[in-house]
Amino acid sequence: MSGPLVLGIESSCDETSVGIVRGTELLANEVASSVELHARFGGVVPEVASRAHLEAMVPTLERALTTADIDLGEVDAIAVTAGPGLMGSLVVGLSAAKALASVLKVPLYGLNHLVGHVAVDILEHGPLPSPVLALLVSGGHTQLLLVRDITSDITEVGTTIDDAAGEAYDKVARLLGLAYPGGPVIDKAAQQGDPKAIAFPRGLTARHDMVKHRFDYSFSGLKTAVARFVERAERDGEPINVPDIAASFQEAVADVLTRKAVDACQEFDIEQMVLGGGVAANSRLRTLMAERCEQAGVQLRRPRPALCTDNGAMIAVLGSQVIEAGRAPSSLQISADSGMPVTQVLA
């Protein structure tokens, strides 16, 4: 028994990707990123991303088929990100998926991108335990999810009330005159800095915030604090120590992300946690989360960085799970849903 052969397409933001899995075995995961096209704008420009998706879609599909070395006729189902994400980007992948499903006469599964980020770890570490807590952190999302069944039972425990964690990295990188995207450059600058040099605020950790927002995140105050710190230093004619600021900022982000995630595990009596999203590749977050999970007796699952960022394999493997759970496929008339709620696995 090897499970269904599923081709998954992802185009919700700035990566065009096609992944192919057989059950829980990864056969191909081709990604074309338009990140460089957005660098000079300091963030993803939707129209630029959409144009890049159209250019990359068919070549990426061809590459994935070559890598997986399968015949299209063997494919059992097409899985595709139906949302959430940028509308103009989503529809490119969804249209390609519909054409594939239609010609191949196989079922189409329109799936939730966020749930894909959780499901991808199955490719690396096998079936997900139930329940499992997922922390998704990237330029687009910061979410704590309680997952009882990856195909049908997902609850959002917490989310950011303002910026996504990755967005805060991008903004602080800009403040410090560093490149876009901010995650890797701040991580690198922080290696030479002192994480305790500056006590930046931890968003939504004050006692009164913990009532309503115990598991929610906020990064906009932190970003403002970094801006104020830099302004004051300039006004006072003090040198600006970029590594110290980067390390202290990164420490504040990692501290609050890990603290609330571990707290949620204890609150809901969950023994396993999975990380996902582009920021899950951040070195400090990975280390600190491993330490705190160990102290709390929580087992941590971290997919390799290439599977943490947006990719088609995560959609393909979620598709294979949904098929094995016997869920009905999507209609060929489904629309993309830029605001698809995380509680909805399948469109």
Binding site: A39, R40, F41, G42, V45, E47, V48, S50, R51, H53, L54, E55, M57, V58, L61, E62, L72, M87, G88, V91, V92, L94, S95, A96, K98, A99, L100, S102, V103, L104, R174, L175, L176, G177, L178, A179, Y180, A227, V230, E231, E234, R235, I240, L332, Q333, I334, S335, A336
Partner: protein, 233 residues
């Protein structure tokens, strides 16, 4: 000129959805949806239905033609990626044509055909029109371009753009001139339509500004500003 033999499917999503079938150079059947907001939902089911109605599958086609606009970008991309994916999976060649050219050529087959130069125009939103000019034999002379409606030459005018600014085109509109693309006719005449390649006729750059100044007082920090400019380049 010989026509493309076999079955040809033409897809155009430059305004609404138009899909048409031709066989050995003769128009056979078409489907259309005037709403410009149903592309992602309806294009593939409508295409399936049209093929099914003639007992065809995509592999039976000898060519897929796709309109590359100009038109609203999201709709264009849906048409083009659908055509390209169908072509890849079914092993059928795909070629692009200008949506304005297809309307121009259709006009010349009609008894209302202009006997001199003429214009075909489509709505570009934002108070502008897409347009191109053609001579009496259907060759494109200028365009496609995008501009204020007042910049269009005073020539007989057809295409969906004339309905958007009736006051501008009073006196230039020929009764019976085509207002919409006929995809079955486009499929029938595919070999007379210039092969445009498969990139959408965007004609406009993406709306995006390179950030010049930062909100913080750091903008006064010359050294960092230079570093930032270098990054931004």
């Amino acid at each position: 000129m010989s026509s493309q033999s076999g079955w040809v499917l033409a897809i155009d999503t430059a305004s609404g959805i138009s899909i048409g079938l031709a066989h050995n150079g003769r128009p056979v059947d078409s489907r259309s949806e005037t709403s410009s907001r149903k592309h992602v939902e309806e294009l593939m089911p409508m295409t399936d239905e049209l093929l099914n109605a003639h007992d065809l599958v995509a592999r039976d086609l000898s060519l897929i033609g796709v309109g590359i606009g100009p038109g609203p970008f999201t709709g264009l991309r849906i048409g083009i990626v659908t055509a390209r994916t169908l072509g890849l999976v079914a092993g059928v060649a795909v070629r692009g044509f200008s949506s304005l050219d297809a309307i121009a050529l259709a006009w010349l087959t009609d008894e209302t055909r202009p006997d001199g130069d003429f214009v075909v125009t489509a709505d570009a939103r934002r108070k502008e029109l897409y347009w191109a000019t053609y001579n009496a034999s259907g060759a494109r002379i200028t365009g496609p371009t995008v501009s204020d409606p007042s910049e269009l030459p005073e020539l007989p005018t057809g295409g969906p753009g004339v309905e958007v600014y009736p006051e501008v085109f009073a006196g230039r509109v020929v009764p019976g001139a085509p207002r919409h693309l006929d995809a079955a006719l486009a499929a029938a005449m595919i070999d007379r339509l210039t092969d445009t390649g498969l990139e959408p006729a965007y004609l406009r750059k993406p709306d995006a500004k390179v950030p010049r100044t930062r909100k913080s007082a750091l903008a006064s920090n010359t050294k960092l500003r230079i570093a930032y400019r270098q990054e931004a380049r």
